[in-house]
Symmetry: C2
Subunit: 527 residues, 2 copies
């Protein structure tokens, strides 16, 4: 049941006076529950509890953390229809999407459970002593990853489950041994509270320390600002807009003790269509891309907002067919009136730029908060000279940039901001002829896709969901996959530490049976 | 031969009008060569060359980079006595130290050469496709580490070789595939130029691209500021003061595109002496610590500046013996008149704090720029309440903090800033009784040492040289050891990319024979 209260550790709390509601964009009315924004005292209490929890939770075994993560997954599933219904009411997203996203969320939790149970992820490394080494003896040095401390997670508007309360950031942080404080997203505070209740239940059931998790409601920026500035908060995870992510990054960088902020932010996900591919497959590509641009009403981080081609009959045909295909698709509802408002405003702003032409837009009557998808086009030279055209229009919108030639295409790619993904649509031999373009693209993105679509982020160890700024604030990490745990941990060395006082991962006996580097050779041996 | 010029790529250049010299602190006179500070145009040119070099150097094979790094090591050794003499003349450090540091420098270069030749470091990971998966097919995703781009390295004053021109930061960046621009340290610009000449020779000999390395002279902050703000610079390495490192961090965070700065900065390296250990070994400990405090004239990042004990006869005896031992040691010369000036000023400032008592100070006549080592002591309560006493006095200075009891000791540790190291001096059973102290210490440091000294940073894979702020700006990385390469690389994914277009590390055939994660299982198999 949704109470509208915060979770300060396991305690439900509503000490603040600011009250807000969520909104159902499909029925275009406010949802019933009222939420209590966390007060300054509640925030302080949640952080103090998280810090206290950290002093013991950091040493919980992989087995214990694994049970906790699996229990969270189970409890989320046990929420059943209440969760799905709340998700749909707060996001306007369809039921199938809600169930898919729930599946992804529990899969992520279980992947991290498996990772920490196995234990190798701590990257244990042992360099044995050489007491007789000249001129000075070599000490025994052993290293492993340890957690940073309490992590604050900002839920994303566009993924109420998979990138929010128990999403990838939270799962990775809890797996690492970091307590988590979620700043719940105001657009889906009810979904957040339900998931938080599942985490709290799981924590109690598996004997986790009080304060290992808190969930704070917020309607504006104040709760987040106080959290990021709190001296006992040691890292921040965020998924959202460039403006929001950059503001948090700046706050964290200005602290007396700066802390890492991993913000996954904007991306227009350039797609390069090479001429031979267009010649061979314009029909199919137009269908596929009409689908990719409008998937989830264009509200994916990996939505293809920029399509590049070289002028010619092939590109003309593709544009014509894309325009025809895209208006056949039923418009979808966007997450919130503010979001559709921003979509229409940004689309209008883009179309007011000199040289940008509207090729197609859905023109029939649409329901509440439904977005009219649009295809636009512009000359390469115009695009190159106007940075305003490089900006993301969040929603089912795309721009086909018509380049004069290969050189201009390469020049444009080199000028793009950092991106989550870059896609190449090519016949195999063509990619070699366009080597310069491909290499330029590689230096701007976190993931390169061949003859596919950028939408759809597979959750697997080899996935990179991140990229050069402003795709993320630190391209050295990924937000998706088990390696995303690296955002919340630091390497730590013990020198000549007695075996009985070492953590299990570094003991001579290798009681966890994990893979370790021993004098730089990987093995599971004992010492 | 030292020319005083910058290396803009392979070209010697002296276009600027600002001229400066280095100083010999032993003879107390300026050294002869005159150095030309890099002009704004020279800086731009070096960065443009580095960017151009990056477009090809990023794809050089491990074999090629390995040859380059080994050639640098060889060329540094081939500089022979000229390097050693210049090092001594510019630092006042003794000849033995110069040779030891040269050995460490070439060892680091060769370690990275071995690392990249072996090739496993790229953390290759392959998740194979499942075309038949329901509800949607799984794509083929492959990941590896790729270099960030041009890296700027700021040489350290206290390690003219091992943490400077061809030091750990440079070696790691070149190994990663990042061109390097060194902002040479003004105190040892001649040593820097000689090492730069070795790098340039090695680059030419092994066919590296022009601009893979540049060396820029500077006497003030301007060169560094311009470099850190340059849009084509993608990361920064720094070793030095908190003020300097924080200034660079702030500049980088304020860029339109923020970039990572790994700054290894201040540390007072707390040492906790437990009662039974003092009872058993006060004599030996006093001797050892007199040596550690004065090693390298107290100019190591890991110098033990804070010694903690619990009041009692054992601690009294230790302080008395430490005082007696430390004045027996011959004072050493500090690196520069500015540095000894700062040492005396900071020592004076510390001694002006209420409650800090001088226990021993070297009192005999000393030569030019020689530092009088000092031992001071203070009550735990006084220390706890006065943050000024927590600050580093760079030089052969230490402070013994006399705690009332275990609780006060723990309270003090919890209040310390982040540190590179923490040391526990204990009998084995004692460490368990002081568990709270040890855990508090662990959360403040990057490396814990048992019954040793913090000075001496072993170069090995398990070493962490870094730690919570202000020991470093990002505790998730180490500045020493092969894993320091992780500062300059980012993970990158290819999705459904044709085998023939993939980099060697990710090809089906595994032509490099490296260890890879295939569907999350480590192996050297082909696909």
């Amino acid at each position: 049941m949704i109470t509208g209260k915060n979770y300060i550790g396991a305690e439900r709390s509503a000490a603040g006076s600011k009250i807000f509601s969520t909104f159902n964009p499909v029925s275009n009315i406010e949802n019933e529950p009222q939420f209590y924004e966390a007060s300054s005292e509640e925030i302080d209490k949640a952080v103090a509890l998280a810090w206290k929890a950290f002093t013991c939770y950091q040493d919980y075994s992989g087995e214990q953390k694994s049970e906790f993560l699996n229990a969270i997954a189970d409890e989320i599933e046990a929420l059943g229809d209440e969760l799905i219904n709340t998700y749909c009411a707060e996001s306007g997203l369809p039921r199938g999407r809600a169930m898919g996203e729930r599946g992804r969320t529990v899969f992520q939790l279980r992947s991290f459970a498996e990772l920490v149970k196995k234990g190798d992820w701590v990257e244990a490394s042992i360099d044995t002593a050489q007491p007789d080494r000249a001129p000075i003896p070599k000490p025994d040095i052993r290293k492993m990853m340890i957690p940073l401390g309490p992590v604050v997670v900002f839920g994303a508007s566009n993924f109420p489950l998979a990138y929010s309360t128990a999403g990838g950031d939270t799962a990775a942080a809890l797996a690492a041994g970091c307590p988590v404080i979620v700043k719940s997203h105001p657009m889906h505070a009810g979904t957040g509270e339900l998931v938080a209740s599942a985490i709290i239940k799981a924590a109690e059931r598996t004997g986790m320390p009080e304060g290992v998790f808190s969930n704070l409601n917020s309607s504006g920026i104040e709760v987040g600002v106080q959290l990021v500035q709190h001296p006992k908060v040691k890292a921040v995870g965020f998924t959202g807009s460039i403006r929001g992510g950059r503001a948090l990054y700046d706050l964290a960088a200005k602290r007396e003790e700066p802390i890492p902020v991993f913000a996954e932010m904007g991306s227009v996900n350039p797609v390069v269509f090479l001429p031979e591919a267009l010649k061979a497959r314009a029909e199919a590509l137009a269908k596929t891309y009409a689908g990719s641009v409008t998937l989830g009403t264009g509200q994916f981080c990996t939505n293809p907002g920029l399509l590049f081609g070289i002028k010619g009959a092939g590109l003309d045909h593709f544009i014509k067919r894309l325009a025809e295909e895209i208006v056949l698709i039923e418009p979808g509802c966007m997450l919130h009136p503010n979001i559709i408002g921003a979509y229409e405003a940004n689309k209008g702003k883009a179309l007011s730029q000199k040289g940008l032409q509207l090729v197609a837009e859905y023109e029939q009557e649409v329901g509440n908060n439904m977005a009219r998808q649009a295809v636009t086009t512009v000359e390469g030279g115009t695009f190159l000279d106007n940075p305003a055209l490089h900006q993301e229009v969040f929603g089912p919108f795309t721009m086909v940039v018509q380049c004069e030639d290969k050189a201009q295409l390469e020049a444009i790619i080199l000028k793009l901001e950092g991106q989550l993904t870059g896609t190449l649509i090519a016949e195999e031999d063509e990619a070699i002829a366009f080597r310069g373009v491909v290499e330029a693209l590689r230096n701007r993105v976190g993931r390169l896709i061949f003859n596919g679509v950028p939408t759809g982020v597979e959750v697997c160890p080899s996935m990179v969901h991140g990229g050069p700024y402003p795709a993320s604030t630190d391209s050295r990490f990924t937000a998706v996959g088990i390696n995303s745990i690296k955002r919340w941990v630091r390497p730590f060395s013990y020198q000549d530490w007695p075996n009985e006082l070492l953590p299990a991962a570094l003991k001579n006996e290798n009681p966890l049976g994990i893979k370790r580097y021993i004098n730089n050779q990987l093995s599971t041996e004992t010492l």
